[in-house]
Amino acid sequence: MNYETKTAEKLMAAENIGETKMQARDVRVSYGDTEALHGVNLDVRHNEVLALIGPSGCGKSTFLRCLNRMNDTIDICRISGEITLDGQNIYDRSIDPVQLRARVGMVFQKPNPFPKSIFDNVAYGPRIHGFTRDKEELRQIVETSLRRAGLWKEVHDRLDEPGTGLSGGQQQRLCIARAIAVNPEVILMDEPCSALDPIATALIEELIDEIKQSYTIVIVTHNMQQAARVSRRTAFFHLGNLVEVGETEQIFTNPGDQRTQDYITGRFG
């Protein structure tokens, strides 16, 4: 399918906020003999920003990595339960995890650009999925993606320099541009700002604000203000359980659970 029409469709779909995009039912994950997630039920809605918060080690990353089957790459990891994307179980035999990861993209905690040029970093996804007809179209996608990631101005005149030569914040935005270039439906972000200074963080938050029109975003964060600023709904995890999920405002002002209250007021975690 054509890149632009796909994006346009997404923009139209933005009106359908509220529909369920992904659905997790009784998701249990264990690493070897220890269970890290004890049956999580959580819905991700269409074109929303969902924040996952909770103390360290509570299973946020584990849950996030279930959503694009990234945990498949860990040998000792076992997953049960059901996760659907547009109503289809992503752990079904008929689903190809490689294709799934093109639909559910990921941005990692530590910026991890490929040791290639900035252009090649962004062009890599479109190239392997082969949805560009010619060089010009590829260049167009790279430019669009970099513009959306707010990086174009800084790098447009040095696209053939290595992506690893950028600053930490620029690298993270490059990684976001790289994820966007594949044109996924859902973007998973695992603490994307944890290695960044406040200015770079603000840039990324702006960027999330910008792109949430066209993508469903799930973001893990340790920064309460960030969750409050960028997300529409927030889910609180504790010791491998989903404690509660609700409108961000409600979670932060009027949590339903004592543990959530303790966490957001900084009593533990």
């Binding site: 990234m70 990861r101 991890n112 650009p113 890599y124």
Partner: protein, 438 residues
């Protein structure tokens, strides 16, 4: 003061008291001692290396030159039997060169017709001198009947004596060069007719019974074929196996069993691989003995574990974040490995492969088992023809007590070391060239 110093944490001056200073000094002293051990170890190692290199070079450098004697030869037509007016090549080739040269020597040397001098006279020139003269005449038949001035290769005994490798001040019966021959040498030296020049035989000839005619060319060609076989087989196989085992193989009992065995194979004495080559390639498959192909196969078996282990280590050292980045964009495993991991691991893989090849180049034991230490006087013209290799040629020469072979043994070692240094330099160059930072 020290005995009253309290050691409780709450005391002020825990890090500034005299005791603390003393602790600090002890720490620095320990550090200095450790550095000293390190330097001593390095100095000792360098010293031993220097002694080794000095011995090899001092014994072997003279092998790179050989002694030549300039003679004026009267090419007497009487020593040929011509039928027609223009001499044919067969007729020229069948000339009595021994006679031509001994007449030339007699003419050039004083006292050459003394009784008993004939034997000494024959020991002056190398057997190659006849060939040198014949080839000159074949190239230019018009020289027949003329006086030709040429440099002829001296015999090994004269060569060694002239280069000062054999002592002169011992009783005549314990020398290989007689008093008369020494007199001739002195005479020729005064006349400026004897001199040393670059020993091209060393790099153009194969082995020979005569040290002055023996060279490394056969061994170099043999080693080249060996390396060709080893490189063509072991690098693709080894790297392929490493990629499969590291990236694709399921982690189960079978693969861990294979892994343990590869590690063990790397430690198997190389002579075992030679035995295997003898038993399997020669006796079962009937491949020819002493052939570089068989040697290469045996060395391939020996090199494979080294390459597999180095390549796996190199693949494993690629940070998982790169793999995750590729997966996260929807790359398949194959794309992840071949687009990202392999290019990054390539410098390490290349280095490991070249080190493996260098190891194979210097390996001797397996070659002895499959007969690559035979006496072979011509360079191999294919993978299947009998040949020696550099290390086995050194081994053969080292067996001989003749001074001419002793210096050639050292020269052979120097040439082998030269090739090894060249390969390691290539490894370093490739690593620098392909290295990428992230």
């Amino acid at each position: 003061m020290t005995d009253t110093t309290p050691s409780s944490f709450t005391t002020h001056g825990l890090h500034t008291s005299a005791a603390a200073q003393a602790r600090m000094r002890r720490r620095y002293a320990a550090e200095r001692r450790f550095r000293l051990y390190g330097i001593a170890a390095i100095v000792a190692a360098l010293g031993v290396l220097a002694v080794l290199l000095f011995t090899i070079v001092s014994q072997g450098y003279t092998a790179f030159v050989n002694t030549e004697i300039e003679l004026e030869v009267y090419v007497d037509p009487a020593d040929f039997s011509f039928e027609g007016t223009t001499p044919t090549s067969e007729e020229i080739g069948a000339g009595n060169y021994r006679n031509l040269l001994s007449s030339a020597l007699q003419e050039n040397l004083p006292d050459a017709d003394a009784p008993g001098a004939a034997r000494d006279l024959r020991g002056i020139l190398s057997g190659q001198a006849y060939r040198q003269l014949r080839e000159t005449l074949l190239a230019d038949p018009s020289l027949i009947g003329q006086r030709v001035s040429m440099s002829f290769l001296a015999s090994s005994d004269i060569d060694q004596a002239f280069k000062g490798n054999t002592p002169r001040d011992v009783p005549e019966e314990r020398r290989r060069v007689s008093n008369l021959q020494y007199e001739w040498m002195d005479y020729l030296e005064n006349q400026g007719q004897i001199s040393t020049s670059f020993n091209s035989n060393l790099f153009t000839q194969a082995d020979s019974r005569q040290p002055e005619q023996a060279g490394l060319w056969g061994a170099i060609v043999g080693s080249f074929y060996l390396m060709l076989v080893v490189a063509v087989l072991s690098i693709p196989l080894g790297v392929g196996a490493a990629i499969y085992l590291e990236e694709f193989a399921p982690k189960n009992r079978l693969t861990s069993f294979i892994e343990i065995n590869i590690n063990n194979l790397a430690a198997v004495p190389s002579i075992i691989f030679g035995l295997l080559g003898l038993a399997v390639f020669i006796q079962v498959f009937g491949l020819p003995r002493s052939a570089p192909l068989v040697g290469g196969l045996a060395l391939t078996l020996m090199t494979l574990p080294t390459i597999i282990i180095a390549a796996r280590a190199s693949l494993r050292s690629i940070p998982p974040s790169i793999r995750e980045a590729a997966y996260g964009l929807g790359a398949s495993k194959m794309q992840m490995v071949f687009h990202h991991v392999l290019p990054l691991a390539l410098p390490g893989i290349l280095t490991g492969s070249i080190i493996g090849l260098a190891q194979a180049l210097g390996e001797t034991a397996p070659l002895l088992m499959i007969g690559m230490n035979a006496f072979i006087t011509s360079a191999p013209d294919s993978m299947f023809s009998p040949s020696t290799a550099l290390p086995s040629q050194i081994y053969i020469w080292a067996d001989s007590s003749e001074r001419g072979f002793v210096e050639r043994t050292s020269a052979g070692i120097m040439v082998l070391l030269g090739f090894l240094i060249l390969m390691n330099a290539t490894a370093i160059f490739l690593r620098k060239r392909f290295e990428k930072r992230w």
